[in-house]
């Protein structure tokens, strides 16, 4: 199970890097979103995956899932959501102001 998720993380990172390296601004933003999902999955995997258990069952429970990575992911998802939302607004405003969404064209931009 862990191996499978790790491979999935690898695939997601590959896709994200491909998108990040493209010239289109929206693709870059989608790339950052996928990149953070990949790392969330990695966080979960590093805590150890167990089937069919819940985080806390009281002190006598036989098997339980480590709750900490889930708390970490919850926080990280909220943060990445906020940053992605901000980036989308930023891209929209930049497009409105400059009429450009191509990163090569935006390079070395100066208005004075």
């Amino acid at each position: 199970m862990e191996t499978l998720i790790t491979i999935l993380v690898g695939v997601l990172v590959t896709v994200a890097v491909y998108l990040l390296l493209s010239r289109n601004l929206i693709r870059v933003i989608l790339g950052t979103a996928i990149l953070s999902h990949a790392v969330h999955l990695l966080l979960m995997t590093m805590g150890g995956l167990k089937k069919g258990s819940v985080p806390l069952l009281g002190e006598e429970a036989e098997s339980y899932v480590d709750a900490l990575p889930q708390a970490l992911i919850l926080t990280a998802i909220v943060i990445s959501f906020a940053v992605t939302a901000f980036l989308l607004v930023l891209a929209y405003r930049t497009y409105k102001e400059t009429g450009l969404d191509d990163l090569d064209a935006l390079r070395g931009f100066e208005d004075e």
Partner: protein, 492 residues
């Protein structure tokens, strides 16, 4: 349990939230922000003094004992930086009152300054790596807003670069946290230190520590500083000064904390790497500082040189060198704020950023000119001013450890700092004035007084070094002896 430890973060946070609702009332916003920054300063100074008598303070949130819960730990190093942050922000707020303009003040400028301060103080105080990540993000999100506020084209374009670089470095941060948690099974810094001392810092942990190094280097502008000059020169003066004074320092703080408390077992790899990166940073920064003709670019590259110099202390890692780094860190927060303010004021007065288009400013604005001269001397490390003590201690530590190359590069870069600023001084302040009496822009008191206050602070820090020597040596002692920190966090 000391609930007061959370105050330096919670006061700015609550202030920010209240200020959001005071949007239409600019006067009320100003008064309220000054009151709460004064409260933050007072609480921080009280905490700093209490640490000297009671030892390191900690606060376990929700009563979860470490290593299970998250916690705040206040030691001298963290509190010194918190105090400096609060004071610098307070003075910068005064500059903002007269320069930022009504459009910004009505568009949530003050709330985001306070959110930024909350994030910065939280990063200094936290005792848990994931909490550090969260506080970093609070700080970064506010900085994204502050850098784009105003929405000029160049701001938007530069901020895309800034935001994407920081998203990437946050990704690396989470990656390192994930691997570290998978390897040692804890994220509490003191507990991590104990665990790693038990199992030994093997190759795997060293690789993880290098990932942390990359993350904090991106934040601090150590070697990976390519994004810094562009994004620090586009926002309004006050925001640039706030960034120059605070943001890189948080990365430096995290690096000091992690590489003295947790990953100190393999100095041959990690600390050597920091040393090499610091050397290249100082060389690259110096080249940038003398290559450009734009005041804002020169000032931004000066930030980079200082980052390299402070981290020489960490690379050398003797107690004296760490003391020097702490002195220099405090000095740098004050003087970089002043330098950015002066550069911004010069651009405001002349309407241009190119140094060849300015001349003879000292005839029209003598006080401004002499303040710039003072800043220049302080940055170069001329004795009575605040930069001197830091440079001497870092130098002494480097000699003790035998790192003469780092020492040489560090001191040579100081000469280039002096040269780059002297070039501004000679070109812009000296010579025939090109401003005739008709279009002489009056320099308002509101802009000049904060600069004077910063000038007084740098003089005061130089003459009053003895006053903070107690705190600095305690901070360096805690950093060099991880047991002190571990004892304070894990006892009971």
């Amino acid at each position: 349990m000391n609930n007061i430890v959370v105050m330096p973060m919670i006061i700015p946070l609550l202030t920010g939230i209240v200020l959001v609702f005071l949007r239409p009332y600019v006067k009320a916003q100003r008064v309220f922000s000054i009151v709460s920054i004064v409260a933050t300063i007072a609480v921080s100074i009280y905490l700093l003094n209490r640490i000297q008598t009671d030892g390191i303070l900690r606060l376990d949130f929700g009563g979860w004992m470490p290593p299970f819960g998250i916690l705040f730990v206040a030691d001298s190093f963290a509190m010194l930086l918190v105090v400096t942050t609060a004071i610098v922000t307070g003075i910068l707020l005064f500059y903002a009152f007269s320069s930022i303009g009504k459009a910004h003040e009505n568009m949530f400028f003050y709330p985001f300054v306070f959110f930024l301060v909350a994030g910065v103080n939280g990063s200094f105080l936290t005792g848990d790596l994931f909490n550090l990540f969260v506080c970093f993000e609070v700080m970064l999100l506010s900085s994204y807003v502050l850098i784009t506020l105003g929405g000029r084209k160049v701001q938007l374009v530069e901020s895309i670069k800034y935001v994407s670089i920081n998203v990437l470095s946050s990704w690396f941060f989470l990656l390192a946290i994930a691997y570290l948690y998978g390897t040692v099974g804890t994220l509490n810094m003191a507990h991590l230190s104990v665990r790693i001392a038990e199992v030994g810092q093997g190759p795997l942990l060293t690789v993880i520590s290098v990932i942390f190094l990359i993350v904090f280097s991106l934040k601090a502008g150590l070697l990976l500083y390519f994004w810094l000059p562009g994004s620090y020169s586009s926002p309004p003066t006050v925001v640039a000064a706030l960034f120059g004074a605070l943001l890189t320092k948080v990365g430096i703080y995290a690096m000091f904390r992690v590489f003295t408390l947790i990953f100190y077992h393999e100095p041959g790899v990690t600390h050597m790497l920091i040393g090499v990166m610091a050397a290249i940073t100082m060389i690259g920064g110096s080249i940038g500082a003398i290559a450009f003709n734009d005041v804002r670019q020169i000032v931004s590259y000066n930030v980079i040189i200082a980052v390299g110099f402070i981290l020489v202390g960490l690379a050398v890692s003797t107690e004296v060198a760490i003391q020097g780094s702490i002195y220099y860190l405090i000095h740098d927060m004050i003087i970089k704020a002043l330098l950015f303010l002066l550069a911004g004021t010069m651009i405001y007065l002349t309407g241009t950023a190119k140094i060849e288009k300015m001349s003879g400013l000292i005839r029209n604005y003598p006080l401004l000119g002499w303040l710039f001269f003072l800043t220049m001397l302080s940055l170069a490390g001329i004795p009575p001013l605040s930069g001197f003590i830091g440079k001497v201690y870092v130098g002494q530590g480097a000699i003790e450890a035998g790192s003469f190359v780092l020492l040489g590069i560090g001191f040579f870069s100081s000469i280039l700092v002096l040269y780059s600023l002297l070039r501004i001084f000679m070109n812009c302040f000296w010579g025939e004035t090109i401003i005739n009496e008709d279009d002489d822009v009056p320099l308002s008191k509101g802009m000049l007084v904060p600069c004077v206050l910063f000038g007084l602070l740098t003089i005061g820090l130089g003459f009053g070094a003895e006053g903070i020597a107690l705190y600095v040596s305690d901070a360096a002692h805690t950093l060099m002896n991880p047991d002190v920190y571990i004892q304070a966090v894990l006892k009971e």
